[in-house]
Symmetry: none
Subunit: 533 residues, 2 copies
């Protein structure tokens, strides 16, 4: 049981993340099973209360998620499986969706049901009574199987505006059937904050006598998902559902990053995440972008790269007199940092922080030289945020503290395919290793794999510890996508040995060359790290 | 004079655009003089009331803007020049900023002044009395020169929270000096909607007896700029300032796209843009992105490409029964369109909606076969959301309605680099084209570029329209990043001719093969589209 910081004046608000389920409904969002498990672990680390892992009936990947996640030890988070009310005309125990929920072994089942009479009769095409029975039976059955049930009242705001009597019946049915929480969903994202407040208050007053709390689930179709979530909390909602970075169908879900920052740092009277700080919010946001291979939004509130960036001269001047003059919040509270654009001053302190371990921070001329190099490289597509090992090598080179362990004489990569056959890939490398020439060739599943194999074949005789290195991740991004296939390509490689994981980067118009640069850095970093002269 | 649609129950809200001034404070936003003039013309076309063109003192480009814009005939928009209150210790007529405003010949001058005592004494470093004199003198001088003056009360919300007496003095001073409107600025973007409402009401009640209205100017640092703008309007603000697409410093300004859509289409009781419709909103948003060379946000409310995109099978099924089921608004009202996406989350309904043009939707067995193929392909890393042309070819193949225009006999791609030199890339392809063999070779900036060049060299003799095709975007994604360089690679290519843009996809362990598959689909789709047998 985690410590509660709630005082008499503080209301605890539960944070319910559905990045792994509703988030993947977003266009261009797709997560592998491994991605989902990694994100779940990160969500738990910052103290999220509930993680909705998927919809086990809908696909085997989600079903497998629930098996795999059981082996993980979470500090705070409880795992929730998503499903719908049973189909019409069957008993709950025979419904495939109910079975999938039970078999998921998730301690909490979140099921969605219809609130709007229009949806019941025109879309689902069942009677109003049958819909109530479907809600009741599904919840009662899952409760009888020992699960906690959260009930998502779909289209609650539109439905209750059109027929408030029927809407009320659906949610009180859910409460009486044993739901622990009724979540009011603005499914279409079209409701205004004042309507959210009024209807949330109305639902809360109806459910309170039944001992059931309300939660809120908003979509961003009117750019109001965060405001609507806060409005519902002010009106008494005890749980906010949303996704990291607001990913999700159409315009996305309420962005939990902004919701948490507003509840935890801006508004008074609310306690979230068991009182933990939010200093890992920026890291979490970027991890999810990277894992889903989505581009960050530089202007994203709280965590974007530009969120605390100052460009206007008057503002920068004021910031140097008092940071609060043009900042509503200390960026460190959300793990972000202030950036002064087109100014060496702020940059030097970043570089100083990053080079601390090299004991060169008091060399201002060197700091400036490194900063200039980073600025120039970033302008042509490089990025060191996920490539700390390449940055480390850059610093070593700048300080004259680096001798390469080998030089390239040449490489060649060839890929051929005939008729409908599989492609065949071969790479050869000729290297000068401490004055000795080695020329090796290898095959691979693709050009990078073959190049890696040939490189290590050539080097491992002289440097045997390279045999311990594994490439664990490989990411490719077109840096400027508007020039077709001749655009610049950034490759980021993650490597690991028994002790460490390190990232390296390469950029070129040619993907093979970009991969080569990242591979070479990965090897050089390993040898430096091992103290190989 | 434009027609007013205001009735007794409708309040007119003025829309004030500052894309050309505050918008360009955003990181990565820069507009040429021609860009600014073109955007101004578009803003006028949709009926924006006020266009803030720039800050004539700050740079010659802005000064020139005001000279050039005078020659343009606007239907509705009035041009505003931005400046600050006079410097300390000078008379207004001698202040360079005041002179620049007068020389701009803009009919309206918007000047910003300090509301917060902290900013007055600690940042500006003048006495509280001198600041009031600066506000008074600047406004009175510009009024004496025949200009209408809008007064931007900087840091109004923070300032009035800290010292409400002094804040009140600054805005009543502005009103008494002749300002036509006092705009309450949440400069740091840190204020919550309920505080905005309360303080706006307070300011309005103070200024109403002086015959002066209040406006609102919000920033998005808490993801609340749109909600805050609406909150102020509900509390009596008569003007909303913002930018198109919310561009602007840090997290940006209030997005006028969402503000206008919410005021004009969602909330009751407000009249904007003289009652004109908002059917050009999507076009305006995209024009500004294109002109500023910024990437669109696909999930942007109302106008994003995904704003009315449906992926989940249940939702698509419902949409076909009633579009309002998962849409809060008819997309045509904002000039946007509905899109149905294909993915493993789709059901037969998505497939049926997408294959409508092939006239096969009533063949359920075929629908199921196509759906199964999509599900299987997605499980091994394919994705058709951004590759509609590949999906189209998949349907053609499934219906037996496709004959390939060429067959691969072989290809070879070679990349070599020597010493520190640039890599050299060559690709050769041998194809069977309608029984004839062609064998061609080409160089390129990288393997995909070379392969594309060789393919088209081989095919263009037989299929000359392929010369019109351009590759406009190339995206690479490692589908399962946990197996190092042997992971599967998904390539998505966007191609265009004079008429259309189309996306294709290829997946393989080998990036070259994946690119080949996407390139071949791009070519086949073009030939099908052109009706080449």
């Amino acid at each position: 049981m985690r410590a509660k910081v709630e005082t008499q004046d503080m209301r605890t608000i539960q944070i319910y993340d559905t990045t792994l389920r509703d988030g993947t409904q977003g266009e261009g969002v797709s997560l592998s099973l491994e991605d989902k498990l990694q994100i779940a672990a990160r969500l738990d680390e910052i103290g999220i209360d509930f993680i909705e892992g998927g919809y086990p009936l809908s696909n085997p990947k989600d079903a497998e998620f629930f098996q795999r996640v059981r082996a993980m030890k979470f500090k705070t988070a409880k795992v929730c499986a998503f499903g719908m009310t049973r189909r019409k005309g069957v008993i709950a125990a025979d419904d495939p969706g109910m079975k999938a929920l039970v078999e998921s072994h998730a301690p909490i089942c979140t099921i969605v049901g219809k609130t709007s009479d229009f949806h019941v009769t025109e879309v689902l095409r069942v009677t109003l009574e049958e819909n109530l029975a479907m809600i009741h039976d599904s919840i009662a059955y899952l409760v009888s199987q020992g699960r906690e049930v959260f009930y998502d009242a779909e289209h609650f705001f539109d439905g209750s505006a059109a027929n408030s009597d029927y809407a009320l019946k659906t949610i009180t049915t859910a409460a009486k059937a044993g739901a622990k929480m009724v979540i009011l969903c603005d499914t279409n994202g079209g409701t205004m904050p004042e309507q959210i407040a009024e209807r949330t208050r109305w639902a809360r007053e109806a459910l309170e006598p039944l001992g059931v709390q309300v939660g809120i689930h908003c979509h961003n179709d009117c750019e109001l998902a965060v405001a609507n979530s806060l409005s519902a909390v002010d009106a008494g909602a005890a749980q906010v559902q949303g996704t990291i970075n607001g990913v999700g169908e159409r315009c996305g879900n309420a962005d939990l990053i902004s919701v948490m920052a507003n509840l935890g740092l801006k508004k008074k009277g609310y306690s979230i995440l068991g009182g933990r700080g939010l200093t890992h919010l920026t890291e979490l946001s970027r991890f999810v972008y990277e894992t889903a291979n989505l581009n960050m939004r530089s202007g994203q509130p709280f965590v974007g790269q530009s969120a605390f960036a100052h460009k206007g001269g008057m503002h920068v001047h004021a910031i140097t007199r008092a940071t609060s003059s043009y900042e509503h919040l200390d960026p460190e509270l959300v793990g972000n940092e202030r950036r002064i654009l087109v100014s060496e001053l702020s940059g030097r302190s970043n570089i100083a922080a990053l080079t601390a371990k090299h004991n060169v921070s008091d060399d201002r001329e060197l700091m400036d030289r490194i900063l200039k190099q980073v600025v120039d490289l970033e302008a042509s597509g490089w990025q060191f945020e996920a490539a700390g090992a390449s940055f480390d090598l850059l610093v070593r080179r700048a300080t004259g503290n680096f001798n390469s362990h080998f030089d390239r004489l040449k490489y060649h990569v060839g890929v051929s395919a005939a008729n409908q056959g599989e492609p065949v890939t071969e790479a050869s490398v000729k290297l000068n290793i401490r004055g000795q020439e080695r020329y090796e060739v290898a095959e691979g599943d693709g050009p990078v794999n073959a190049l890696d194999a040939a490189l290590r074949k050539a080097l491992a005789v002289e440097y045997p510890t390279l045999r311990d290195v594994q490439l664990i991740d490989y990411k490719v991004r077109v840096v400027n996508g508007q020039q077709g296939t001749a655009a610049r390509i950034r490759v980021i490689i993650e490597s690991a040995d028994q002790h460490d994981v390190w990232g390296t980067v390469g950029v070129s118009e040619n993907i093979i060359e970009a991969s080569w640069l990242a591979l070479v850095d990965a090897i050089e970093y390993k040898l430096c790290k091992d103290g190989v002269a």
